[in-house]
């Protein structure tokens, strides 16, 4: 009897925590999302599901933009993280942990502070652009901030380690003998990479995608600090609805729509990759 209870006892603290701080607010928010009213006269539950439709039509652009930024950021992150992870896993010798620490080092500084520093660095008359403009190398109206590039760049920078780490772990696990075996079987270095190392490291890439795409798409800090009005993401809209417009039902409906979209996305993604099709395709 005791033995059956023990596992549940272990789950209890964490479980209670999740119920108190995740499930309860979620239920509360779900209820808010179908209410009507305003901050002055109060909100009343009317089960107005049209809140969802309204939110979606009104902010369709921001939804799509967020997905687009998330996608672009993820692709850029893979492109930057893979070579770094590869180099650390195979070429760094005994210094592996040092380089991993270096990759992580900027992340001991707060997310917001780092993004603000980027703003400072890239400001129109900041330490980077000002000298170039004075030297006539750049047009006077050239700017980096308030552009898509700045926001996607910020996202890429901020989430890079979440891609480097899982790819590194996957590459670390590739048996060097298996790579040698491919070379023994007449594979060039490039073929050995495309047929053996890359397919074996794909699970790390997939994990990295999950860990970067989701938070990037829901991010609002980068758009708020590095972007302009044309770069507003869905996270910024939700923030505005809650804190500026005090339109809680609209904010809740948007949040739930975003969450549902993410969950469906993740589910489809996991289903597509969960099978071994990807690997089989890679084996050819």
């Amino acid at each position: 009897m005791r033995r059956r209870i023990a596992p549940y006892l272990l789950v209890l603290p964490g479980g209670l925590w999740l119920i108190a701080f995740l499930v309860v607010p979620l239920v509360f928010m779900a209820s808010v999302s179908t209410q009507e009213g305003d901050i002055v006269n109060g909100f009343a539950q009317t089960f107005r599901f049209a809140n969802f439709a309204d939110a979606l039509t009104e902010y369709r652009t921001q939804f799509l933009r967020s997905a687009g930024y998330g996608l672009a950021g993820t692709v850029l992150t893979i492109a930057l993280a893979y070579p770094v992870a590869y180099w650390i896993a195979f070429k760094a010798g005994r210094r592996k942990s040092t380089y991993l620490l270096l990759v992580l080092l900027p992340f001991f500084v707060s997310f917001v502070l780092r993004t603000v520093s980027w703003k400072f660095l890239l400001a129109d008359d900041g330490i980077l652009l000002q000298p170039l403009k004075s030297a006539g190398l750049l047009a006077q109206d050239f700017h980096v901030l308030q552009t898509t590039a700045a926001v996607v760049g910020g996202l890429t920078y901020n989430y890079l380690p979440f891609m480097v780490l899982p790819i590194y772990v996957a590459l670390e696990r590739v048996d060097p003998r298996v790579v040698e075996a491919s070379q023994d079987l007449y594979a060039s270095r490039l073929t050995s990479f495309t047929k053996v190392v890359l397919p074996l490291s794909l699970p790390g890439v997939f994990a990295g995608v999950l860990m970067t795409f989701v938070p990037m798409t829901a991010d609002y800090v980068n758009a708020a600090i590095l972007g302009g009005p044309a770069n507003t993401m869905i996270g910024n809209i939700i923030q505005t609805e809650y804190l500026v417009n005090n339109d809680y039902p609209a904010g809740a409906a948007l949040s739930f729509t975003l969450m549902a979209a993410m969950l469906i996305g993740i589910f489809v993604y996991a289903r597509a990759l969960g099978t071994e099709n990807v690997l089989e395709a890679a084996a050819r």
Partner: protein, 383 residues
């Protein structure tokens, strides 16, 4: 099957023009590693020549440089000094993917993300062999290693023995001019190991490819090989056929490493007609064939196999080697008994004696006995 033979036939025909050219030659090969700022010599100068179609073994204790030597043949390590030649061609600077030899790794190193079929077809695909031929050759080799019907399995879904055969098939399907096997049976249990030894030998006969076989198991090397290089500490101690290695070990190391061997050292009291006489203790005398280099008064080390020794209570005739001693231990081992005997000169000998149906244990523990053997059954080491 036919494809395999046809392909092999072509390769043999191409090579037969100069069939005297050894399949593999190592010439003064040295491999040094930098380890914690120190230079470690894993291989200290190995020269050997392996003939086409030979089953050649490298035998030695763990850490003696077998794997390193083999990896230099395969091209995974660059020799610090020396030359590697494959079929007369200097390949010292040729990368592994351009060498016409294939390796079976100790850990198999199968591609975990590929099916058995894809694993085996890997080399052929890299060489752009036509699809139909790949199909035929993979099918044929899987039949040889008895894995037909398992093509779609993943390596991890197979037993150790099956994985071993996939690794073998993956290398053999390419008709390499030599196959390098690094302790291929090391991970298998004894029964499977013995079955695979027969299997490997059969396959080698069937395909006629040069096998270079690394093992630390002396029985394996003795039963399978045409020739054996016994290695120790980065050097080849002896290179000879199994019988010679067993019966005429060239060094004390080989004598000790191969089977149970008895060693006795003494001073040559007399040398005449290629035979030396040694005194052991007060009454013991050992006659042993020696080379010209042994003179009267020189030190001689003698080895004799346990099964060549007779144990008796009475002093034997004068024309044999005979040394008195005390029985320290008797172990009954089914078809024979094993005796540990402390000799008068201080050496400890092991003696195996057949259990003939009518004989009881010849001597009990603590009994004083004589050990004797024919002089031609003993060897002076290094002569």
């Amino acid at each position: 099957m036919t494809e395999i033979q046809a392909g092999r036939g072509a390769a043999v025909a191409a090579a037969s023009g100069d069939s005297q050219v050894p399949a593999i030659e190592l010439d003064g090969v040295v491999k040094e590693y930098q380890a914690q700022g120190e230079v470690v010599q894993a291989v200290k100068g190995v020269s050997l020549s392996i003939a086409e179609g030979e089953f050649f073994s490298m035998l030695g204790p763990s850490g003696c440089g077998k794997t390193t030597t083999m990896r230099m043949i395969a091209g995974f390590e660059d020799p610090s000094r020396g030359t590697v030649r494959l079929h007369g061609q200097d390949v010292t600077d040729v990368p592994p993917n351009k060498r016409d030899v294939n390796m079976v790794f100790q850990s198999y190193a199968l591609f975990p993300h590929m099916s058995v079929w894809e694993n085996v077809a890997f080399g052929l695909r890299r060489r752009r062999v036509p699809a139909q031929e790949i199909k035929n050759r993979v099918g044929a080799i899987l039949e040889i290693v008895d894995l037909t019907g398992r093509e779609k399995r993943r390596p991890r879904e197979m037993s150790g023995g099956q994985q071993q055969r996939v690794a073998l098939a993956r290398a053999l399907v390419n008709n390499p001019r030599a196959l390098l096997l690094d302790e291929p049976l090391g991970a298998l249990d004894l029964k499977l190991r013995q079955a695979m030894q027969m299997e490997l030998k059969r396959i080698q006969r069937e395909v006629g490819i040069t096998f270079v076989y690394v093992t630390h198991d002396q029985n394996e090397a003795l039963t399978m090989s045409d020739r054996i290089a016994v290695m120790n500490d980065g050097l080849v101690e002896q290179l000879a056929g199994p019988r010679e290695i067993y019966e005429r070990p060239a060094t004390t190391f080989v004598a000790g490493f191969i089977g149970t061997s008895n060693l006795l050292s003494g001073t040559a009291e007399r040398v005449d007609g290629g035979t030396a006489l040694l005194r052991v203790g007060e009454r013991g005398r050992v006659l042993v064939p020696v080379g010209d280099d042994v003179r009267q008064g020189g030190a001689v080390e003698v080895t004799v196999r346990p099964e060549k020794i007779r144990i008796s209570v009475e002093e034997p005739a004068a024309d044999v080697s005979a040394v008195p001693g005390t029985v320290a231990e008797v172990v009954y081992l089914g078809t024979y008994n094993s005796y540990a005997v402390n000799l008068a000169g201080g050496a400890e000998f092991t003696v195996f004696e057949q259990n003939a149906s009518n004989s009881d244990i010849t001597a009990e523990r603590g009994a004083s006995v004589w050990l004797s053997w024919q002089p031609q059954h003993s060897y002076a080491i290094g002569s």
